[in-house]
């Protein structure tokens, strides 16, 4: 415990998350040892991919400050999947489905960015509005029906594994986290994001193009949502209007749990990935223990509140 106390920032977050993860695993092991198989691990990571991508976008938007938040992430995932599939049905070559998903997501994210930066709308209201527009459109365009017709080669990628690890995780989620981590730590761009999140006025005064950077970050969050849509389509074999349900809550929880400060300017991507894996392990464990899925959203909500309260308390003690 003394060692814990000397840890700081990201290292502290990561060790706490690892500790929590071990606790969850031990509890699961005690309650139901049969949970531990390669298959379970694979499905945990499979489930993680979508949440990881969305949480990464959420984390970036929050980190950049300016009361940044993206409540529309779930809507972006649903709508990009649906619209991309509808395009394919209208005659778009299926080869372009992946690109379509990501491009549509980027477009929807950029719309958020324009509302927030060019029109200076408060992010929480702007993205609350677009959340209902995007998820409403996904439902209204399809009447709630799943859109099938995903090419088989895409299913091979979406369901394939390498050494027990899903291909989607290896080829999209990991690179996205790695690239974002490198950008945040080693490039001027990354420093800008921290700077504008930490103190926006100073960031503007030293000449950082805050609005442009923020617009790009909302677009990036959209692009990651589009990538998550692609993963869902390739995995499930159809585009579903409800695939993004509760993602705003889950991604916020993952970001907060991963050590991103809601006020911006603090946190890293490693914690977010660890938090996503912790959340999904918890969810899979509950599923294995036959706990009704309606408990999941409540547990995630409780976690979010506790993390925020704990963050306040820790600042109080510091």
């Amino acid at each position: 415990m003394i060692r814990l106390r000397t840890l700081q920032g990201p290292a502290l977050t990561l060790s706490l998350l690892a500790l929590l993860w071990v606790i969850v695993l031990v509890m699961l092991l005690a309650l139901k040892p049969s949970v531990f198989s390669l298959g379970t691990m694979t499905s945990i990571i499979q489930f993680s991919t979508i949440l990881a991508l969305v949480s990464l976008g959420q984390a970036l938007v929050i980190m950049a400050g300016g009361a940044g938040i993206d409540l529309s992430v779930g809507g972006i995932v649903s709508l990009s999947a649906i619209v991309a599939m509808l395009f394919v049905k209208l005659g778009l070559p299926p080869v372009l489905l992946p690109a379509a998903c990501i491009l549509i997501g980027t477009f929807l994210g950029a719309l958020n960015g324009i509302l927030v930066t060019k029109l200076t709308l408060l992010p929480l209201i702007a993205t609350l509005g677009t959340f209902f527009i995007y998820s409403g459109l996904a439902l209204a365009l399809t009447g709630g029906a799943a859109q099938s017709g995903v090419p088989t080669w895409l299913l091979g990628w979406g369901r394939g594994t390498l050494a027990g690890i899903p291909l989607t995780f290896l080829t999209i989620a990991l690179p996205a986290f790695a690239i974002t981590g490198i950008v945040l730590v080693w490039t001027a761009w990354g420093r800008w994001i921290y700077a504008m999140g930490f103190n926006e006025r100073s960031a503007r005064l030293v000449g950082i193009p805050v609005d442009r950077a923020r617009l790009i970050l909302y677009a990036a969050s959209g692009a990651l949502g589009g990538a998550a849509a692609l993963v869902s389509v390739a995995w499930l074999g159809s585009a579903r209007a409800n695939i993004g349900q509760n993602l705003e809550l889950e991604s916020l929880t993952a970001a907060m749990l991963g050590g991103i400060a809601i006020t911006g300017g603090r946190g890293g991507v490693g914690g977010v990935l660890a938090a996503v894996i912790l959340l999904v392990t918890l969810r899979t464990g509950l599923l294995q223990l036959n706990v009704n899925t309606v408990w999941q959203v409540g547990i995630v909500g409780t976690l979010l509140i506790f993390v925020l309260l704990a963050d306040r308390l820790s600042q109080h003690w510091r």
Binding site: L124, L249, G298, T302, I305, L309
Partner: protein, 322 residues
């Protein structure tokens, strides 16, 4: 003089005009719109949104927000429904709504005000918790076919006017008096303008914010009483889009989402306009699935217009003090 009234209450007049235009357009477009039956449906559908909207007006004017109001109404409605089903006295049944609502408002206040958590994130977390609570309490089954006890009392007339109308007028009057005729109202608007300045000038910021979340909860609970009386069932998806509807109606009514400025009359007209649009579009054949798209679009559209008119400019600063 007239000119002064027009500019001072420009928002209310233009909302009234928009309501009238919408009524005329839909009356022409659909033979079912301008019927007394539809008018009654429209008013009935507006009641719970109006009550929730009054609470949301106070919250937004204070610089707060609550996205869990729809589900809070659902939880209170379950309480009211259970009380109604158990044949408790009508007074107890009717009060169950506001009491449960105020209790849940207390929880929200504890998390957001005492925990110093941004309201949007805190209430989103509570939304998740409450959604599970609704599923667990209902156990996968709707409350339906509830007795008519509450409905009869609210529909009974006094001096030719339904009791329900008296209650709603009373709620409106109480909120108006609190906001415009008491120190509490001034404090609330001061906090909405600048929490920092309000604190420095000695306003009991924590107490006022705490009270406002409880008042909003109680109004939401009252909405639940009306909901149960009107529909006599509680479904699993109750209140899903109520928070969005309320925020859209209140912003439409001229309340600033940055706080410090609000209009209760604007909220009433905003609620009416929103419900007229939703009802009318349904009648001319737009599927109800499009409603969230319309409401979200309306919300953002109004804000864009306000920005364009230079009436609204958001400071690009962070959430809360660091």
């Amino acid at each position: 003089m007239m000119n002064g009234v027009l500019t001072r209450n420009g928002r209310e007049w233009s909302l009234l005009a928009a309501c009238i235009v919408a009524i005329i357009v839909f009356s022409v477009a659909s033979p079912y719109f301008a019927t007394s039956g539809n008018a009654a449906t429209l008013l009935r559908n507006s009641v719970e949104l109006l009550l929730v909207g009054l609470g949301m007006t106070l919250l937004l004017a204070m610089g707060g927000i609550d996205v869990s109001v729809g589900i809070v109404m659902g939880l209170a409605a379950i309480g009211v429904g259970r009380a109604l089903g158990a044949d408790l006295p009508v007074g107890v049944t009717a009060l169950a709504g506001p009491v449960i609502g105020a209790g849940l408002g207390l929880v929200t206040a504890a998390v957001v005000v005492l925990g110093r958590v941004p309201a949007i994130v805190g209430t989103l977390g509570l939304l998740g918790v409450y959604r599970t609570a609704i599923f667990v309490l209902l156990g996968g089954q709707w409350l339906s076919g509830l007795p008519t006890g509450l409905t009869d009392v609210l529909a009974a007339t006094f001096l030719g006017i339904p009791v329900a109308a008296f209650l709603i007028a009373l709620a409106y009057l109480a909120v108006w008096l609190a906001l415009r005729r008491t120190p509490y109202g001034l404090h609330l608007l001061a906090i909405g303008n600048s929490e920092e300045k309000a604190r420095l000038s000695g306003i009991p910021v924590v107490r006022v914010r705490f009270a406002t979340f409880i008042v909003s909860g109680a109004l939401t609970g009252l909405a639940a009483t009306f909901y149960v009386a009107n529909y006599r069932n509680v479904e699993m998806t109750i209140g899903t889009t109520l928070a969005l509807d309320a925020i859209a109606a209140v912003v439409l009514g001229g309340t600033s989402i940055l706080g410090g400025k609000c209009s209760l009359l604007g909220t009433v007209l905003g609620v009416l306009l929103l419900r007229i649009l939703q009802n009318g579009l349904l009648l001319v054949g737009v599927p109800s699935l499009w409603q969230p798209v319309l409401t979200g679009g309306l919300l953002i559209g109004v804000l864009m217009l306000e920005v364009a008119a230079g009436r609204l400019s958001f400071p690009q600063t962070g959430w809360v003090r660091k």
